[in-house]
């Protein structure tokens, strides 16, 4: 069975600084998707960034980027130039591909990020 582990329950960063959130996962599949979701107090899960396992290039979305290490099964999120609005719970998630009966997201335990002004 696939598992996702986030070992940092809480992280803190100064406004405008850079922070990295860690995530490891376990799977026997060679092709899959990895995601980072943000969950503010409004509770809605907001997709931050996604990575296809077959792509070697790390995904980037504006101030958000990932370090995807497939062999090590590691998927960290880097937030640059942190803003007050980045404060939220961040979840790492895994999903199989559609052709492998994908659909179900498997989430980690979450990392609570606080941003200090």
């Amino acid at each position: 069975a696939q598992t996702v582990t986030q070992s940092q329950p809480e992280m803190s960063v100064q406004e405008a600084e850079t922070v990295t959130l860690s995530c490891t996962y376990d799977t026997s599949e060679s092709d899959y998707y990895l995601f980072w979701y943000k969950q503010p107090p409004s509770r809605q899960m907001i997709l931050v960034i996604r990575q296809e396992a077959y792509k070697q290039q790390n995904a980037t979305e504006n101030r958000f980027s990932v370090n995807f290490q497939k062999a090590a099964k590691s998927f960290s999120l880097k937030i640059s130039d942190s803003q007050l609005g980045d404060a939220a719970m961040y979840f790492c998630a895994y999903r199989k591909t559609f052709y492998n009966q994908g659909g179900k997201l498997i989430f980690g335990q979450g990392t609570e990020l606080s941003v200090k002004p």
Binding site: V4, Y33, S42, R43, Q44, M45, I46, L47, F91, A93, R95, T97, F98, G102, G103, K104, L105, F107, G108, Q109, G110
Partner: protein, 113 residues
Amino acid sequence: EAGVVQSPRYKIIEKKQPVAFWCNPISGHNTLYWYLQNLGQGPELLIRYENEEAVDDSQLPKDRFSAERLKGVDSTLKIQPAELGDSAVYLCASSQRTGEGYTFGSGTRLTVV
């Protein structure tokens, strides 16, 4: 375009009472998901629908939980009777059959007293 709509946003009930949650997915999304999120944890899948068919309900406690998706659009998740341990956030999501466009609703926070 409206996102995934869930209601109610909050619900407080006494234990042993029934409760129901409603979800309206994004138009055109064949796949609908119900997730359970306990406090301080990541969501866990309860059930997944492909149109009207429940294709993954292995994590749904069938002794007290039930779900339906009539006509392959809206869905209802029911708990009867509710227990104190059911207090959590219930999230609904929808996507295209390929998993593209995966979108979550704002969830229903259930408190059982």
